[in-house]
Amino acid sequence: MSGRVFLFGDDVDTDQLAPGAFMSGGIASLAAHCLEDLRPDFASTVKAGDLVVAGKNFGIGSSREQAAEALRHLGVAGVVARSFAGIFYRNAINLGLPVMVAEDLGDLADGDAAELDMEAAVLRLTGKETVVRLEPLPENLKRLLADGGLVAHLKERFAEKRLEESGP
């Protein structure tokens, strides 16, 4: 499934992704303001399956995981960036939002149609010859994402533990 690329620059911070003024409300009201200072029509135009692509240090700032949750809530299928801030990166994986690093974005442009292939670690651009190569995810993080995030992963782990404890 391909989606539209929304291209951003370097150092997109958590106050852009999840503005403080809306942090006391629910995720729907917060997500409506996601990235609005950088791109006022982002929340209203992004569709399920679309991709966010950015420069370096995406998600710098706060540990508020609503920064990743807002993107997931809006249906963003994944974020590709030249680098990520550490806490955002962990939060995204924990919430089941794919995040992949691309050293070089090549001739990718805003509005391109693209398909994220995590297994092959490439971003395929519809109608363009080149592909954007991605750093493969470490195995432990691939497993977390495949499970649907940390809560689903822990649920399985605790279920197994209970099974063992009640075992033969």
């Binding site: 995981e65 801030a85 924990n94």
Partner: protein
């Protein structure tokens, strides 16, 4: 607790030693993924109970150890919006129900945690806030995580991490008068960028660091977050030990917690503290730092002395030295939000709070306040502010059109008096010995 004897035949960094201990290993190597047991988990009212409780419920489990969880209400204090007040109610009820140590209205988590003696050298601690590296000032490996990850820690008592490399940042000589720990951090943000820390461990060393008080060291560790580091460590010394004894903490075997000579480093930077001038960072990034002396005339509307990085007792004392006997420039509003109740009480006893009041400042709650921008107090449209906080991202403290400059508490105080961004060194009283 089973403790592995550290492998002394391998040269390790302070970060490696603490992580190895927490992972039940004798040594670990940068780049390895390990699972470590946490000694303490700190949460606050925003990322804490309201976010973790639904997950614990879904998992059908309780806390791994209520004695190892500290909850501090600071982000929505004083509860000046309906939603914020509801979140505080939920936080208070949860604290009772889950029987965790709880500080309510006592101040900002990163300042309250050490001032109540919860941290000691060699501990491995997670915090539900990005400025959790503050704990590194005590030789504690402490880092920030999001709420879902915190729920996982609260359920299991452990967390995975990739063992970081260490970036050694060495400051030799002494800071000049009027130049502070905050200026060191703004200069570093400017030089290294907000990703200079590469989500690795930063460790601060050198004679300039050794000369700093614990609260000034906390400012360095705190803003390791603005360098994009996972942790910001300072090896414990006599100053650390004395502080911990003074707050009823436990310095323990503090001499063991240091980077071995010959340990492999990711990078090693060296700077001269004596050559550093007061810094200010232009909107909208801490990385936009420059010496105040090089900044063109910039009139301000609001001066804000607040936050874990800029309104501790030592910060208040420094700012008061500038403000004593002076008044605010016409049209400038000065807001002061002391970082903890204990720090404010001490400042009041010593006449420091009176200096702020006499100058015409408005005193806000001992909480995150406008720095987090979660409450009713926010900067209005087109307001220019100079702030002692750690971040000046667009729209963080108020309207998207507001412009926030960052500076030390001294620079903020000097600017409040001058009505424009000003070098605090011009406002320092001449010491008797210099006459």
């Amino acid at each position: 607790m089973m403790a592995q004897t550290p492998d002394r035949t391998v040269n390790q960094t302070l970060a490696q030693k603490i992580i190895a201990r927490a992972a039940g290993r004798t040594a670990v190597q940068p780049g390895e993924v390990v699972t470590a047991k946490v000694d303490l988990a700190m949460i606050h009212d925003s990322g804490g109970p309201r976010r973790v409780e639904p997950i614990l419920k879904e998992l059908g489990v309780g806390l791994f150890d209520a004695d190892k969880v500290v909850l501090i209400a600071d982000h929505f204090v004083p509860g000046d919006t309906q939603e914020g007040s509801d979140i505080l109610d939920f936080t208070r009820a949860w604290a009772q129900q889950r029987e965790v140590t709880f500080y309510d209205g006592e101040g900002i988590c990163h300042v309250v945690l050490p001032e109540r003696g919860h941290l000691r050298p060699g501990m491995f601690v997670v915090g539900g806030d990005s400025h959790s590296p503050t704990g590194g000032a005590f030789g504690t490996y402490m880092f920030g995580i999001g709420a879902t990850e915190m729920a996982g820690v609260l359920a299991t008592g452990e967390i995975w991490l990739k063992v970081p490399g260490t970036i050694l940042i060495d400051w030799q000589n002494r800071l000049s008068r009027g130049v502070t720990a905050k200026d060191i951090m703004l200069a570093l943000c400017g030089k290294l960028g907000m990703d200079g820390g590469q989500y690795q461990a930063v460790e601060y060393t050198g004679t300039a660091i050794a000369a700093l008080s614990m609260q000034d060291r906390m400012t360095l560790s705190n803003m390791a977050a603005e360098l994009g580091a996972q942790a910001g460590l300072i090896a414990p010394d006599e100053t650390t030990s004395a502080y911990l004894n003074s707050v009823g903490g436990d310095p323990g075997d503090w001499r063991d917690w240091r980077t071995d000579g010959g340990a492999e480093l990711l990078a090693h930077y060296q700077f001269d503290a004596a050559a550093l001038e007061p810094q200010a960072a232009a909107p909208h990034s801490p990385a936009n730092a420059a010496p105040v002396s090089a900044i063109p005339e910039t009139p301000i509307d609001v001066a804000y002395i607040g936050a874990c990085t800029g309104a501790k007792y030592d910060d208040l004392k420094g700012a008061a030295e500038i403000l004593r006997g002076r008044v605010l420039a016409s049209g400038v509003e000065l807001l002061v939000a002391p970082a903890s109740k204990r720090d404010q009480d001490r400042a009041a006893e010593e006449g420091i709070m009176r200096v702020f009041e006499n100058a015409g400042a408005r005193i806000l709650s001992n909480a995150c306040g406008i720095c987090a921008g979660y409450g009713a107090d926010r900067l209005g449209a087109d307001v220019t502010c100079i702030s002692s906080t750690a971040r000046n991202f667009k729209g963080r403290m108020g309207a998207a059109s507001s412009k926030v400059w960052l500076g030390s508490p001294l620079t903020v105080a000097a600017s409040a008096v001058a009505g424009q961004i000003a070098d605090p060194r011009h406002f320092l009283t001449i010491e008797m010995s210099a006459i």
